[in-house]
């Protein structure tokens, strides 16, 4: 049982290290991961779906705001700050950088630039999402081994 839990933890570490090497996650994610010791073993398995929901909802709101004429760049700015804060606090490095690109387009009131930046954010999110699903699965298996 203990060996299997260790193997699961090693798999998790390998996935996260690989994502860090690709620049998809940064050290903030490991810090967030370490918080489960101070909270509950389910911490990360609960946090990841919250993160995904946050990103999906804000992306949806950004798209809707961009589609309206005229574009409300004040609202675009606030939503951009929201997703930037969420992604940087979670440790999703490339996603947070994609939000910086969006910020620039919003500041320049460049609608096409905003559209292109949103596509970039969507792509980065899709890249991260499948790995996050795997991490949640591993976390749940690790927790069930500890039970």
């Amino acid at each position: 049982m203990a060996a299997s839990r260790e193997a699961l933890n090693q798999q998790l570490q390998q996935i996260v290290n690989s994502l860090k090497e690709q620049g998809i996650l940064d050290s903030q994610f490991w810090m967030v991961h370490s918080l489960k010791e101070a909270n509950s073993p389910f911490f990360l398995a609960e946090l990841i779906p919250m993160f995904c929901h946050n990103v999906q909802t804000t992306l949806r709101d950004l798209n809707r705001t961009l589609e309206k004429e005229p574009v409300n760049y004040h609202d675009m700015n606030e939503l951009t700050m929201k997703i930037k804060g969420c992604t940087s606090s979670f440790g999703a490095r490339r996603l947070a950088l994609a939000c910086v690109t969006l910020r620039r387009a919003v500041d320049n009131k460049n609608k096409d630039g905003c559209g292109s930046a949103l596509n970039g954010i969507r792509q980065e999110y899709q890249t991260l999402r499948s790995s996050l699903d795997r991490i949640v699965e591993l976390e749940r298996r690790i927790v069930s081994h500890q039970a």
Partner: protein, 143 residues
């Protein structure tokens, strides 16, 4: 810009309250995003502080008006109902001498300065991490 402060508080409060180092540091986290709220709460708890939450600036101000006090307030900037700038101004005008630290997604100098001018002791760009928390808590203990 990543960080600004810990300089002189640009508010009417001239002295900081004396922290009793025997008891836990009390922290008010003012943040509307539940994900970030959760991360910040657990992080500050891991640092041994006692944490209370407010989801916007008005809730924070109301807590102080009800008689609550905190050694440290960590506040976001953009929040519904009352933002971090307005909340900080109100707290300082009420005579609150707690350390108030801004934690924001905004990183342009002018934006950080505007937040600082409300009466913050310091302001950090998100993410809040262990290094930044250590600096803040050390600053608090050295007062």
């Amino acid at each position: 810009m990543e960080k600004m402060g810990f300089g002189n508080v640009t508010s009417t409060s001239k002295t900081m309250k004396i922290i009793d180092t025997e008891k836990k540091i009390s922290v008010l986290i003012v943040e509307d995003n539940l994900l970030i709220q959760k991360i910040h709460k657990v992080m500050m708890t891991k640092f041994g502080t006692e944490v209370q939450l407010a989801t916007n600036g008005k809730e924070a101000v109301d807590l102080f008006l009800s008689g609550a006090s905190f050694d440290l307030v960590l506040t976001d900037l953009e929040m519904p109902i009352m933002d971090g700038i307005e909340a900080t101004k109100q707290l300082r005008s009420m005579g609150v001498t707690s350390m108030i630290v801004g934690v924001t997604s905004r990183n342009q100098d002018s934006e950080i300065q505007a937040f600082m001018n409300a009466g913050l002791n310091a302001c950090y760009v998100k993410p809040l991490n262990a290094e930044k928390v250590t600096v803040v808590l050390n600053e608090l203990k050295n007062i």
